[in-house]
Every structure is written in structure tokens, then in C-alpha cells.
């Protein structure tokens, strides 16, 4: 890298190595690719050791690289959800399990249900194999979920919405409108309540709810008309002209692709269907339909304000996720028994170097990704926009 090149590029993008550690938000797509790679890796094993390591990796990266936005706190919820899933699987095995397995831990009293309940019996002998099977399966699902939770905590959803393809531009705009209007509703509720108090209405319960909810709804609807006028006056909704031939092609691609998806789904579920009608047909149909959608999106012409770019850091983070998935799959082809530890002769799960390497690669973004832009002003965690709440109800104290 020469100096001349750096200075020439300096206007458009940051100089490579000095700017690497500057705090900035990573492209949300990079975090999602990384997380999906981790989830794919988790889906290819039921061995609790690499699964636990993957959860730890996700937690480590989230703790080191999350910002201070509201969605960054979501990770804890996903962890709890994972715990619930594991617990649910184990409890279902205990209550409704068939009682397979040799090492019986405890014999619970059996409760046979009547005939209309398909002759199911509750409880009965509880075997170690049964519980372990439920635990392994549940842990795999929980790990995949926690990996997605990491993406939720790390990626900025608003910036992700900016990256939607052109065909989804209208829907993306509607969601952006919804996200920006939602906080205004709180302000609207407060305004209507203040107006009610000024008129001396002190009612509580259902009547007060109606007296508040309906004006707020009417206010929101009026606001939408004002917003539409503002969008019109700024030239929203201009579309490029599309020749009729291209319209036919995109329509044909979407329709043909969907027919392919339907046929592929049928072939996937019907064992008598020939093999090419299953997954290959499904994927081909999806590809055709998506191509049609992307082509149709080209008629939307828009400019972007400060678009997110794919810089080396983004590629590296996404690559770590993909590499972790690929390494796990490789480990699966080398030694499938270790990735799916058998339950029925009880064995202690083991780790292989390949699995450890996959986990290590997955953890690398905790150090390789640039730190998040965190505003170091200490705020109270609740009451995000501090809205002045009228505390007294006497109508005279506000002019």
C-alpha cells in the first residue's frame, strides 16, 4: 500500500489500518451472516460440548461488541428462551415419554388416560437415555436460537432495513414509518390525557380508555395524511418506466418459480415422487422467483444516504461465521459419531481439534471486529426519551 493510494482514497473510505479500530457500527448483514454461520454449525451436531462452547462464543462476542441501543439488551431474552426450550423438551420426555432406555432413574406412578386421548399414559419409568436425548436435541435448538439472538443484539435493524432489495422498498418504507411513529404515539396519549384533564374529565376504566384511545387513533390517522403529503412533495414514489417485455419476463419468472416451489414441496413430502422433484426443484423454483423479484425491483430508483459498505472488517466477520459452519461440516464428514454422540450405550461426549478450531474461528470477531460506537454518557436504563409527565391533576397549574 503506497502513500499516494491512501491519500487518494482518503476522501471516500478510511485509510486501512489506522481506521480499523475506530469505533463504528458494522454492516448488519455481516453480523447476520456470522450468526447464521454459527447457527448452521450448531445444527450439525448434538454434542453438548461444542454446543455449550458456541453459546459461550455468542455471549462473548455480544458482550464485547454490542452497542448501547435498546435492541442490544435483547440477548438475555434469547438465552432465557433457550433455557425454556431445553426444559420443555426434558419435561415433555418425562411426562409423555415412552419410557425407553435401560438405566431407569426413577419409576413414577403411571396415569393411563382414557380412550379419547389416544391411550396415552403419563409418567412411568424415567430413563437416563430418554432425558439425555431430549436434552441434546433441545440444546441444539436452543443454541441455534441463541446464535440468532446474538445477531439481534449486534446488528442495527434500522440499517438492515435500508439494505432491502428494491422490490421490497415500499414495505421497508412502511416499516420505517411504523418504527418512527411508534414513539410519537406515547406523546399523543399524553397530550390527549392532558386535554381530558383540562376539560375536567376524571373518568377511569373502560370509558376513559375509549376517551383516550379513539382520539389517539384519529390523531395517528390524520398524521398519516400529513406524512403522505410530505412524501408526495419530496418526490416519493417516482418509478422508472418498465418496458412491457421486461414486465412479462419478471412476471413469468415469479410465477414459474412459485409453481416450481409448489411442485418441489410436494416432491419433498411425497416419497413416491421422483428424486428430481424434491429439493432440487424447490431450490430452482426459489432461485427463479427471487431473480424475478430482484429484476422487478430495478424499476425503483432511489438514492441512499450514507450507505453501509462492505469493508474488510465486514468480510472478515462474515467469513468467520461461514468458516465455523464449514469446519463443523468437515468434522462431521471426518468423524460423524463424535458430532452425534450416541445415547443408548451411554458415552461421555468428546471434542476433536477440528471442532475446537471451528469454535475458535467463531470467537474471533470478539477481537477482530471494530468496537461499537458507544456514547459514554451514563443514562438511566429506563425511560428512554424522558417525556414530561404531568403529575398533578389540578387543571390550573398549566397554562
Amino acid at each position: 500500500m503506497t502513500d499516494a493510494g491512501t491519500t487518494a482514497d482518503a476522501g471516500r473510505r478510511p485509510a486501512r489500518w489506522s481506521a480499523w479500530w475506530l469505533p463504528r457500527g458494522l454492516h448488519p448483514g455481516a453480523w447476520w451472516l456470522w450468526a447464521l454461520g454459527l447457527a448452521t454449525a450448531a445444527s450439525h451436531t448434538t454434542n453438548p460440548l461444542p454446543l455449550a462452547l458456541l453459546v459461550a462464543v455468542a455471549a462473548l462476542v455480544v458482550v464485547r461488541r454490542r452497542g448501547d441501543a435498546p435492541w442490544a439488551l435483547a440477548f438475555r431474552m434469547y438465552v432465557w428462551l433457550g433455557v425454556v426450550i431445553v426444559a420443555m423438551r426434558v419435561v415433555f420426555r418425562i411426562v409423555f415419554g415412552g419410557g425407553q432406555g435401560e438405566h431407569v432413574l426413577v419409576r413414577l406412578p403411571e396415569i393411563p388416560l382414557p380412550e379419547w386421548a389416544a391411550g396415552i399414559r403419563l409418567f412411568g419409568p424415567v430413563a437416563v437415555e430418554q432425558i439425555l436425548g431430549g436434552f441434546y436435541d433441545g440444546l441444539r435448538l436452543a443454541t441455534m436460537l441463541i446464535c440468532l439472538g446474538a445477531a439481534n443484539a449486534l446488528a442495527n435493524p434500522k440499517r438492515l432495513l435500508k439494505a432491502v432489495p428494491g422490490a421490497l422498498y415500499a414495505v421497508g418504507t412502511a416499516v420505517v414509518v411504523a418504527l418512527s411513529v411508534a414513539p410519537q404515539l406515547v406523546e399523543s396519549v399524553l397530550r390527549v390525557r392532558r386535554a381530558r384533564r383540562l376539560r375536567g374529565a376524571t373518568g377511569r376504566g373502560v370509558r376513559a380508555l375509549r376517551g383516550i384511545a379513539l382520539p389517539v387513533l384519529a390523531d395517528a390517522l390524520d398524521r398519516s395524511l400529513a406524512l403522505a403529503a410530505a412524501m408526495d412533495s419530496r418526490g416519493y414514489g417516482r418509478t422508472g418506466a418498465v418496458p412491457a417485455g421486461q414486465r412479462t419476463i419478471t412476471g413469468g419468472l415469479v410465477l414459474g418459480g412459485l409453481v416450481g416451489v409448489c411442485a418441489g414441496t410436494y416432491g419433498l413430502l411425497d416419497s413416491a415422487a421422483p428424486g428430481y422433484l424434491g429439493l432440487p426443484m424447490l431450490l430452482a423454483g426459489l432461485a427463479a422467483a427471487v431473480t424475478g423479484m430482484l429484476l422487478a425491483g430495478r424499476r425503483v430508483r432511489r438514492s441512499r444516504y450514507r450507505p453501509d459498505r462492505w469493508l474488510p472488517a465486514e468480510l472478515l466477520v462474515a467469513g468467520c461465521g461461514v468458516a465455523a459452519a464449514a469446519l463443523t461440516m468437515l468434522a462431521g464428514t471426518v468423524d460423524p459419531q463424535l458430532l452425534y454422540p450416541p445415547v443408548s450405550p451411554l458415552t461421555w461426549p468428546q471434542l476433536t481439534p477440528l471442532m475446537l478450531l471451528a469454535v475458535g474461528v467463531a470467537a474471533a470477531p470478539a477481537w477482530l471486529a471494530p468496537p461499537p460506537p458507544v456514547v459514554r454518557v451514563h443514562r438511566p436504563p429506563v425511560a428512554d426519551p424522558p417525556v414530561p409527565v404531568p403529575t398533578t391533576t389540578s387543571p390550573g397549574d398549566r397554562s
Partner: protein, 290 residues
């Protein structure tokens, strides 16, 4: 009235995508017994998990491909915001669900296409606001979209008490249907393979239905689903007429589908702008208000 015109091609796309999407919910009934079949392996649910978001995106893109009116778009965003704000009111309290009520009423007033879009955008915005994006989100979006679509397809002529009664009944049914479909989706994931409540590959559909009914009854019918149906119906009966009136008033003021006439600038020399004039109820309504 219908805010969003659903062209024949869009209707075909909607039907095909819905048929394929229904398979992503109901596949446990049709899984063959052969162990070598693709659908038996653990890959099948994952294939469907990847397939459904694409299908939802395709349908949404197709619905808006005719160029959605900016007024309809702003209305969509604002109603989705109201829905997303209503949703946390019920979360955590067993069975109190506040999303469907406005979805059904708005679908009724603004038509099936708008109802479909509103269902998806509401749940998506709500997931972003409360950070609940996960593999379940596309399935929830699609179910809610079907509810909005169905509300728009109810017979148009009904008015007054009969309308409220039909909407309340539809809301209750839709709430049960939503619960059943989401249970059906979650069923293979939550119980795992080897319990007496799990689906049996290759078994007759009736037997699997029986097992699903038991699973639903055990986990959610008496708490969540019934509570959801009751709250939706009661909310529609109590606030339905007033909300319908507010929505219809907004629809009349917005004058969706009013023809836009472009007049040459020389015709109206007093106007400074290029002479874009909107005829129809918008102008008339505005004058009447003044």
C-alpha cells in the same frame, strides 16, 4: 372499498405462495415413513425455515409492485405502529392479545391487499421494537397476514350491528386459527421426536391430528387461545363501531384512488407549481371541513 388493487397476477402469486407456505406448517402430517426420504431427516424443517421468509418477501413484493400510493403507505406505517404499540400491552398477561382487533377492523375497511400488508408489517415492526426477531417471525407474519386478508374478503354489504357481530365472530375464529397454526409450526420443534405427543412419520393424517389436538389442548387452548379469542371478540364488540367510523372517515379524507388529472400549466396561470391537480373527494372533503 379497496385501497390496494389486487391484480389477477398478484392473486395467482398470492394463492401459489400461500399453498406452498401452508405446506411449511402442515408437513408433519405428510412426512413419509421411509427413513431414506429427505423429509424424514432433520433437514426438512430447516429447508422450510429458509423457504418461508423468501415466500413472504415474494408475496409482499408482488403486492406492492403496482406502485403503492403514498397515502396508503403512510396509513400502513401508522396503523402498523399502532398495532406494534398495542402488542406489548397484552404480552405477559396470559391470553390477552391486542393485535388482531385493529388488524381485522383495518382489513375490513381498507380491503384484502392492505390487510395482508398490515398483518406482515405490524408483526415485523413489533418484532423490531421489542427485539423479537427469530425463526418464528415469518410464520407469525404470514398468519397475521392471512387474518387481515380474510377480514378484507368478508361480505361487503353488511353494516351496523350485523357487521360488528360478523367481525367479532371472525376475530374469535381467527384467534383460534392463529393459535392452532402457530402450535402446528412449533409442534415438531418443542416436543422432539420420541414422546407420545410427537408426530409419527407416515401415520394416517387423523392419528397425527389427534396427537396435535392433544398437544394443543395440553399447552395452549385453555389458556392462550381462548383468552386471545375472547379479548379480540370483546374488543371488536366494544370499540368496533367507533374505530370503524374513524377508519372510514380517514379513508374518505384520503380519497384513495381519486383520479389525478395533469393540466397544462397555461390553463391555470394563477398556480405557481406545475399544475398537478387532484380531483375528487380529497378537495371536496377538505372544503367541506373548512
Amino acid at each position: 372499498m379497496s385501497v390496494l388493487r389486487v391484480a389477477p397476477r398478484t392473486a395467482v402469486v398470492l394463492t401459489l405462495a400461500s399453498a406452498a407456505a401452508l405446506a411449511t406448517f402442515t408437513w408433519p402430517f405428510f412426512v413419509p415413513a421411509h427413513p431414506e426420504s429427505t423429509a424424514r431427516t432433520a433437514e426438512a424443517p430447516l429447508v422450510f425455515l429458509v423457504m418461508l421468509p423468501v415466500l413472504v418477501a415474494l408475496t409482499l413484493a408482488e403486492l406492492t409492485s403496482g406502485g403503492i400510493d403514498s397515502k396508503a403507505l403512510a396509513m400502513l406505517g401508522v396503523l402498523a405502529a399502532v398495532n406494534a404499540a398495542l402488542r406489548p400491552l397484552g404480552a405477559g398477561t396470559a391470553g390477552i392479545e391486542t393485535v388482531f382487533f385493529l388488524l381485522v377492523l383495518a382489513g375490513r375497511v381498507f380491503g384484502p391487499g392492505f390487510g395482508f400488508l398490515l398483518g406482515s408489517t405490524s408483526l415485523f415492526a413489533s418484532a423490531l421494537l421489542t427485539a423479537g426477531v427469530g425463526p418464528w417471525l415469518p410464520f407469525q407474519m404470514l398468519c397475521a397476514s392471512w387474518i387481515g386478508l380474510g377480514a378484507g374478503l368478508l361480505p361487503a354489504r353488511l353494516r351496523g350491528r350485523a357487521e360488528t357481530a360478523v367481525l367479532a365472530g371472525y376475530g374469535a375464529l381467527a384467534a383460534y386459527g392463529y393459535g392452532l397454526l402457530m402450535n402446528l409450526w412449533f409442534w415438531p420443534f418443542s416436543v422432539g421426536a420420541d414422546t407420545q405427543l410427537s408426530y409419527v412419520a407416515g401415520a394416517p393424517v387423523l392419528e397425527n391430528l389427534h396427537r396435535l389436538a392433544l398437544f394443543t389442548a395440553v399447552t395452549s387452548t385453555f389458556g392462550w387461545d381462548t383468552g386471545r379469542a375472547i379479548t379480540t371478540a370483546v374488543a371488536i364488540v366494544l370499540a368496533g363501531p367507533a374505530v370503524l367510523a374513524a377508519l372510514r372517515r380517514a379513508a374518505r379524507r384520503a380519497a384513495f384512488g381519486a383520479p389525478v388529472a395533469f393540466a397544462a400549466a397555461s390553463d391555470r396561470p394563477t398556480e405557481l407549481t406545475a399544475g398537478v391537480r387532484r380531483d375528487g373527494a380529497a378537495g371536496a372533503g377538505a372544503h367541506r371541513v373548512q
